[in-house]
């Protein structure tokens, strides 16, 4: 919402500098987004008459223009525009004028011809948006008149305010002035327009029936005669322009002016074009059609409100846009002026559905003031009276259902308790009265009547906000609640930090890809997940929610590789989403850890996993060779902790790497943290260790490639029993002499008893049992 300081001052003798008023507006909750001085910078600009137009002898794109700048003499100007004719009046920037863009006009030669000033386009002097043609002025003006005087431009201050949805009253100049007057403690008044009724009484000429009263709270009509459709007076057009509306003609402009001033939108019907002047207000029938003012044919639904003529033909969409059939034009002499109150929810739904958001619908949506219509109609007539308009006797005023606002009981103590203030009953009463919240003392309470222009305010708490707003948020003493609660992270939140810290400690960088994917991204990564799709994505690349961290991290590797950044070691902790197996209120959503190690193989990924398992103090886990789609078929294992699948470790399938254009092999780990961290982990109990000497035995086996090393280790543990305190695979090698399909696995076994020093005999016996068990259970042979 834009307001002019001069306009605000028509309602209240506001004090203070423009900056001071801006601060007050912000403190009232009407944040000033921009404050601009307008109507300045016109020094040196005058009205000039075009006397002659001649081609420039040496240039095609400029012409020579002789103008009379008021002294009757021909003054030669070089001009790049060709839209004017001899006799036109145009704005001339005389020599020495400093233009808004800072350029100073000087006498200079253009291709050998003198130019003694500059003719201006409207955009160049801040009076419009045309930057091509020279601005053509009203033919009645006198050459030589200063432009600001000719156009009745006054210097003023324009505020652009951010108005919240709960402040329909601040969608009008008067409403903003009312707030400022209250905080400045100066008087505020809406002037009563001076208009007389005359001519044929309206009631015999028009009638109104509200068929759906929940749609329309009030439908007021006036008949105006003697209309002459013509341009608005300059001052009025200037104000509309300043507030961002384009002047059209006096009738449309009066409607817009009253809306901006008082917040009441209106609609005018050409009475002569109406097929029977009996207006009805009802819900549309599904499929009903209307051609609106903008020439678009629209199909209506039963949720839309409409106004119909006596033939039950739709002539307007309630509160959103009128119909073309009864639009006023140059021939119009008599109009029916409608000022209504429409149900905000209906207007909002219709405007949204039709994509027709207008200044009017914005006001009805927030809840207009149902009681300002009469005043607004008279103001409308007052604005049109200079062009001959008269107001027929009689107001047609039909009411439907309006929100009923009874008095609100406000407990003074409760308001103070909520705000942390100590405002007396008397002071609170006065604060509210200054905002036109009429109130009476009722014991310790106040009985408050909320004014009709504040439909948002219905409860004691709402009124507490008004008290606080006017008392000044800045004046409320800052305190801190006294709580004896202790804060802290949950164990899950601490675990998440531990997971991150472990990755960081391993030298892996944290990445944060967006969770949106393009259709096909999941499939390209080998993921069969159904996925959760976005119903209204802005772009296809953001239409699928990730079901795995794999696509995002691979895209990150590909992006970096395309910038010659290879060998990245990155991880991400984030949510993934999927369709659930069974019906449930929300989709599946889990927190995952994903690790992508570019340029290294599955072994590095396993090392990352084992470091994580160690950091989390997990119990036993198993890596079981597996072939999930999208991961390397011969270099991947599923991770089972206590028999529960928690994720996969290995490498990315080369086909997937090719699809994502990742040029290096990628070691991969993805773990479902929701599953993993729900398993026993964390604090471990102390296991006492033996004080007796240890003995180390090295054993190397030739083992078939099909047998996992873990199986050998398991067999060794079983065979050695409790005497085995440590088992380490210290060497793996393959050689031609051993042959295809085999490799050597060399282990160090450390033996120790809790209660004695082991004898050579016991060690030899245990060693032999290990050899026998491994050779017996597995295709493995001890290397000599």
């Amino acid at each position: 919402m834009k307001v002019l300081l001069s306009w605000l001052r028509e309602f209240a003798p506001l004090e203070g500098t423009p900056e001071g008023i801006a601060d007050q507006l912000s403190a009232l909750g009407l944040a000033v987004e921009e404050m601009t001085a307008v109507g300045e910078g016109f020094e040196g600009l005058v009205v000039a008459r075009v006397l002659d137009l001649r081609p420039h002898p040496d240039a095609d794109r400029i012409q020579l223009v002789d103008v009379d700048a008021g002294d009757g003499q021909a003054l030669q100007i070089c001009c790049g525009a060709f839209n004017m004719s001899v006799g036109d009046l145009v704005p001339l920037a005389t020599l020495g004028t400093v233009m808004p863009n800072g350029m100073e006009i000087a006498r200079r030669k253009m291709r050998g011809e003198w130019s003694n000033g500059m003719l201006c386009a409207s955009e160049e002097i801040g009076l419009g948006d045309d930057s091509e043609g020279i601005m053509l002025l009203d033919a009645a003006l006198e050459p030589g008149t200063p432009l600001s005087e000719a156009l009745e431009i006054v210097s003023d201050v324009l505020y652009e305010l951010e108005v919240n949805p709960n402040r329909p009253d601040a969608m009008s100049v008067a409403g903003v002035a009312r707030d400022l007057a209250a905080v400045q403690q100066v008087s505020f008044s809406l002037k009563q327009p001076t208009v007389q009724e005359s001519g044929d009484p309206a009631p015999g000429r028009v009638s109104v029936e509200i068929i759906d009263p929940d749609l329309c709270g009030r439908f007021a009509l006036r008949v105006l005669d003697g209309i002459t459709v013509e341009p608005s007076p300059r001052w009025l057009a200037n104000r509309l322009t300043a507030l961002g509306m384009r002047p059209i003609n006096n009738v449309v402009d009066a409607s817009n002016y009253v809306m901006l001033e008082l917040g009441q939108p209106s609609h005018t019907y050409d009475l002569a074009r109406l097929d029977g002047a009996g207006f009805s207000v009802r819900r549309a029938v599904d499929g009903e059609e209307i051609t609106t003012l903008d020439g678009v044919e629209r199909t209506l639904e039963s949720s839309d409100g409409v106004v119909t003529d006596a033939q039950n033909v739709v002539i307007g969409i309630a509160g959103v846009m009128g119909g073309a059939s009864t639009e006023i034009d140059e021939t119009t002499t008599t109009v029916a002026l409608e000022m209504a109150w429409w149900d905000p929810i209906s207007i909002s739904a219709t405007a949204r559905r039709l994509g027709l958001r207008s200044e009017a619908s914005a006001r009805f949506e927030r809840g207009a003031d149902p009681e300002v219509a009469e005043l607004a109609m008279q103001r409308f007539v007052e604005l049109l009276a200079p062009s001959g308009a008269t107001m027929a006797p009689g107001l047609i005023d039909v009411r439907g259902n309006l929100p009923v606002a009874g008095p609100v009981t406000v407990r003074v103590a409760r308001v103070n308790a909520l705000l942390g203030t100590e405002i007396s009953q008397e002071a609170m009463s006065a604060l509210l009265a200054s905002l036109e919240f009429a109130n009476t003392v009722d014991g310790d309470n106040l009985q408050v009547v909320v004014p009709s222009f504040r439909p948002d305010t219905t409860t004691e708490t709402d009124i507490a906000e008004e008290v606080a707003r006017l008392y000044g948020y800045a004046n409320i003493v800052k305190t801190v609640p006294l709580s004896t609660l202790t804060g802290g992270l949950t164990s899950r939140q601490k675990d998440r930090r531990l997971v991150r810290n472990t990755m960081l400690g391993l030298g892996i960088d944290e990445a944060m890809p967006v969770p949106f994917l393009a259709p096909g991204d999941l499939a390209a990564a080998g993921l069969s997940a159904a996925g959760v799709t976005v119903a209204n994505p802005l772009v296809a690349e953001e239409s699928v929610m990730r079901a795995s961290l794999r696509p995002g991290l691979l895209k990150t590797l590909a992006y970096n590789a395309s910038h010659r950044l290879t060998g990245l070691q990155i991880f991400e902790v984030g949510h993934v989403y999927d369709q659930p197996a069974q019906s449930q209120p929300l989709p599946d959503e889990n927190e995952h850890l994903g690790v992508a190690l570019a340029g290294v193989d599955a072994g590095e990924a396993v090392a990352v996993w084992s470091a994580l398992a160690d950091a989390l103090a997990l119990g036993q886990y198993e890596l079981v060779a597996d072939q999930p789609a999208g991961l390397h078929a011969t270099r991947t294992a599923r991770i089972e902790v206590s028999g529960t699948l928690v994720g996969f470790v290995g490498e990315i399938d080369p086909t997937v790497l090719a699809a994502y254009e990742v040029p290096q092999r990628v070691g991969w780990l993805e773990v479902n943290l929701d599953v993993l961290l729900a398993l026993p982990h964390g604090v471990k109990m102390f296991a006492a260790f033996s004080r007796y000497p240890t003995s180390d035995v090295d054993l190397a086996f030739e083992v078939e490639e099909s047998v996992p090393a873990a199986a050998v280790a398991t067999a060794l543990r079983e065979a050695a029993g409790d005497l085995l305190v440590d088992l380490a695979l210290f060497d793996v090698f393959r050689s031609e002499s051993m042959g295809e399909g085999k490799r050597s696995l060399a282990y160090t076994l450390r033996f120790q008893a809790d209660d004695r020093t082991l004898t050579d005999g016991e060690i030899a016996e245990t060693r032999q049992r290990c050899i026998d068990v491994v050779q017996g259970a597995l295709p493995a042979v001890l290397r000599s």
Binding site: Y473, T479, L485, G488, Y577
Partner: protein, 333 residues
């Protein structure tokens, strides 16, 4: 061996010891001079066949010679050891500047850094940290927060809906406020909790907008909580997070789920203002929807964007940089 022979033996031995150039040679010499097959040991074996006087004299002399030899050997050994260590050190000389390319820690994402800083700060003020789903239902994101259906206030949020359940029943949460509702549903007051999290809007990415970003909000529900407590808590947060010399102010605003509502701004030491976030007293309708009696409990909530704090702290001028994951960016922080 007589005494004269012993003198000669000692003189020869001293020459040999001085000539030993490494510890191994010296060890050999030690064996030759003092071992079981040495001349000294052999001479000792002859003592038994001598007269008592001779035996005593020769015995004393043998001991003297052995002590002298031991002393010479020890002295030479120490000398050689010093030399060998010096040689070893020289052999092991490293240019450490050649080797200055070793291990590095990973880099924590700036959003995580900011997130954890905020968590730590509020934990220090006695708050817990709460979380909720990123895909939410319409009730928790809007309905329970006092947004009636079709209310224009919903237009303040450009909502992304997901295809799940009834149309427009499930959405990518537009703010972290639904976590407030979940906390109030799950916990008995008093509640002092913050809710950091990822949120979504239907926005085209540019330097200041992303369709996905992060917020943090705080919820306090207790007996006797006032608007003054809100203002004071924000002031305490401002000074703790931004530093001495930073202050805060509140301006009236509107959110469906708070009343009174406010924007809060931060005043920098140079006097300039920064709009940080929104706040207010929890609306009685929100308390009621969560099953709390507004006459018994009151509370406040405030929330602000987390990513912008990360941008400010590290002087980053484009929000998209946080999500592009260029390694030249990630590895800077």
């Amino acid at each position: 061996m007589n005494e004269i022979d012993l003198d000669a033996h000692l003189a020869q031995a001293a020459t040999d010891i001085a000539a030993a150039t490494d510890l191994a040679a010296l060890k050999d010499l030690d064996g030759v001079l003092l071992g079981k097959k040495s001349a000294i040991t052999a001479a000792k074996r002859t003592l038994g066949g001598l007269e008592p006087d001779q035996r005593r004299a020769l015995g004393l002399r043998l001991n003297e010679v052995r002590d002298e030899l031991t002393g010479l050997l020890d002295e030479r050994r120490r000398h050689l050891e010093v030399g060998e260590r010096a040689a070893q050190l020289e052999n092991e000389r490293l240019d450490l500047t050649e080797l200055d390319h070793g291990r590095r820690l990973g880099h924590r994402h700036v959003i995580t850094q900011t997130w954890e800083r905020l968590e730590d700060l509020f934990v220090g003020m006695g708050y817990t940290v709460s979380e909720g789903p990123e895909i939410e239902d319409e009730w928790h994101n809007f309905g329970a927060l006092n947004f009636p259906p079709d209310h224009p206030a919903r237009d303040m949020y450009d909502t992304l809906y997901v295809n799940y359940g009834d149309p427009q029943s499930t959405l990518l949460r537009t703010h972290t406020s639904p976590v407030q509702v979940r906390v109030m549903e799950d916990q008995e007051p008093p509640i002092y909790s913050i809710m950091p999290g990822r949120v979504f809007r239907s926005d085209t990415a540019d330097a200041t907008h992303m369709p996905v970003f992060h917020q943090i909000e705080a919820l306090v529900i207790d007996r006797g909580i006032t608007f003054g407590d809100l203002a004071g808590t924000l002031e305490a947060f401002t000074t703790a997070y931004f530093g001495e010399g930073f202050t805060s102010r509140l301006r009236p605003s509107y959110f469906p789920f708070t009343e009174p509502s406010a924007e809060f701004d931060i005043r920098r030491p140079d006097g300039s203002w920064l709009e940080l976030g929104g706040c207010g007293m929890v609306h009685p309708n929100v308390l009621t929807a969560a099953g709390l009696d507004p006459e018994e409990w009151s509370g406040f909530a405030f929330g602000f964007g987390l990513d912008r704090l990360a941008l400010m702290r590290h002087d980053i001028d484009d929000l998209r940089e946080l999500f592009r994951n260029d390694h030249r960016f990630l590895s800077q922080f």
